[in-house]
Symmetry: C2
Subunit: 347 residues, 2 copies
DNA sequence: TGTTAGCACTCACATCAGTCGAGTGCTAAT
DNA sequence: ATTAGCACTCGACTGATGTGAGTGCTAACA
């Protein structure tokens, strides 16, 4: 890769991409020479453009049309031309202001976050929420009586993320039995990281505490059921209507394809793979794994609670997106969300 | 209103609407005479059509184009021409099959329901879930300790619908204090219908049980906060992508308008007003309160738990929708959902 | 008197040629 | 090395034309 484009080529490339991002129209040499005063004539720009196209940074939709950036062009733009993402104080103020709607429940925080992200970036946004099975620790399990035959299992972790589920009480167990089971489990598992609760550990409890195998067996099945059910990742999605404003989605079939895709949580989770890096990751156009978003880019960043990566915030938009703005917002959000969530964790 | 259309006019009107519903194209006299063998010639049909248009049942997009039903036409179709909605055994089997994914948690039931509704009707569907404040009765409140400064309030009702919320423990209250508050509240409110928990009742507790006004004041604030916060109705929405398949939504701006509207929960709640009737209510085109859905129809039915209306199931689609099918599915669902939810209520 | 065949008429829609203009590549002059 | 000039390309727009589905009306018919 000849990343050593001379200064003028860089300037022209940047100007072209900037212009294309804001207008969504192929950019001509005249526009560049006029709008961005680089002190050169359209003809010169044309020559440079021809070079840039030859090098693969630009494309021409049809002969005698302006140029648009190629994936390689965007890549170079994002990696080399863009100033390091820096969010403005004004944006921070806006975000803070939006967050000020009361968000006591943890899901509300995520819901609010996707809303803010899409409003700021005018694109679709996603947040992968921390899974229970992540780093948080088990605090206790409790059975709340509901009636003779049913009970509510509540699992409380140190992040305050509680999971509850109505269960039918197995034949032959009383509420008191459940209480004893809970005690046994709690004394053994209290303070343990959720993902350490494995079959051998559970076996331990069986041997130690509860001699009655029948009661135990059933209780553990319940616990496991609750834990495994809650393992599926939760993705929050927002701002899908934003995308209808983008000229690249004037086509109903395109919209349909994308919306249908976004309905599949499994796919979204897969897109939002958590890297361990702290940076903002940009995946442009065909770099994406799924062909459904080959004309989209994904900008994502992981966020941490107490140094541990627990989830991802991301924005999805057309390849022609405001990378600078998006990256800066996400960079801010990764820190901000982590801080907010920390309040939900034990201090 | 001259509802006394003669038999042939009825047949023709029905044929036209049926045809328009399935093709989305203005219907011509030739089509009617050919496809639906009423034993009359196109010319006769034309005469009848002219009459029907004069009476307001049909419209003509432009001279020399086929006819399309007017709102009045649809109204007559729904009220007088349609056979009473009857779901087929095959559809019941399909629905049953779809429901068989495990749905232990109550929200999953609703989520599943909107999915099924939109798949069956190929339209957007909505379910207004029972509010806590509906007819169900308060069972108990409980404070689960989270850490020194925070606690989880859990409110359990007889429908098993529990609400939980993390709260900061007010300065000066211990977990034991909270426990006592809970006991006091429970002994007073246990078994009471949620909507009977009013300010005077809460005052009662204050006077009777808790002489310490400071502790009480704070605790009640919490309770009220939880109760009022949970008062906002919960609407489940599904199948928005379905609408992209409808030819009337080939236009991106229309889609945008509708999708934006559907994002507003408040509006949806308002659309799904709960009548007390047991029937299926159809609101056609401009009969709708909101101009955003003036070219849509809403078909809705309330569902009951133990005889009490608790929520609404609804389908939203273009005025040109399969009313018969939609109504039959909803009619089935109103009963079915009630039954499913009954399992979540005390027996 | 109700029904129907025939016919002129309407109008959306598709097609096609012509024009326009933004933009290019190339060449020659600076 | 840069730029002015020029011929060329090609998408987008415009207006004319043809087509066909459909109508309304009138006159003939059972």
């Amino acid at each position: 890769m000849e990343l050593i484009l001379d200064e003028r080529k860089r300037q022209i490339l940047q100007a072209i991409i900037d212009d294309y991002i804001s207008t969504a129209e192929p950019v001509g040499s005249r526009t560049i020479a006029r709008k961005y005063d680089l002190g050169i004539s359209p003809a010169t720009v044309r020559n440079e453009m021809a070079d840039l196209e030859l090098l693969g940074y630009l494309e021409q939709p049809h002969t005698s049309s302006g140029r648009i950036p190629s994936v390689k062009g965007y890549r170079f733009y994002v990696d080399c031309l863009l100033a390091p993402p820096q969010i403005s104080d004004r944006d921070i103020a806006i975000i803070d202001n939006w967050y000020h709607t009361k968000a006591r429940r943890i899901e509300e925080v995520f819901q609010e976050t996707v809303k803010i992200l899409s409003r700021m970036t005018r694109n679709v946004s996603m947040v992968l929420a921390p899974q229970v099975s992540q780093q948080c620790t088990f605090k206790y399990i409790q059975f709340l009586p509901l009636d003779e035959r049913r009970s509510i299992v509540v699992i409380v972790t140190d992040t305050g993320l509680i999971e509850n589920k109505i269960i039918a009480i197995p034949e032959g167990l009383s509420h008191e039995d459940l209480g004893r089971v809970a005690n046994a489990i709690n004394s053994h598992l209290g303070g343990l990281a959720i993902d350490r609760i494995t079959t051998p550990v559970l076996k331990d409890i069986q041997n130690d505490i509860l001699p009655d195998p029948q009661v135990y067996e059933r209780a553990i099945t319940l616990l496991r059921q609750v834990l495994t059910v809650d393992k599926n990742e939760k993705v929050y999605l927002g701002g899908t209507t934003q995308m209808l404003n983008q000229p690249e989605f004037r086509d109903v079939d395109k919209i349909k394809g994308l919306l249908t895709m976004l309905e599949e949580d499994r796919l979204l989770c897969d897109i939002l793979h958590m890297s361990n890096s702290d940076g903002v990751i940009v995946t442009i156009g065909q770099e994406n794994k799924y062909s459904g978003i080959h004309d989209c880019s994904v900008v994502q960043a992981t966020y941490r609670i107490d140094g541990q990566v627990v989830g991802t915030v991301a924005v999805l938009g057309p390849t022609r997106m405001e990378y600078g703005k998006t990256m800066s917002v996400l960079k801010f959000m990764q820190r901000h969300l982590g801080e907010i969530l920390k309040q939900y964790k034990v201090l």
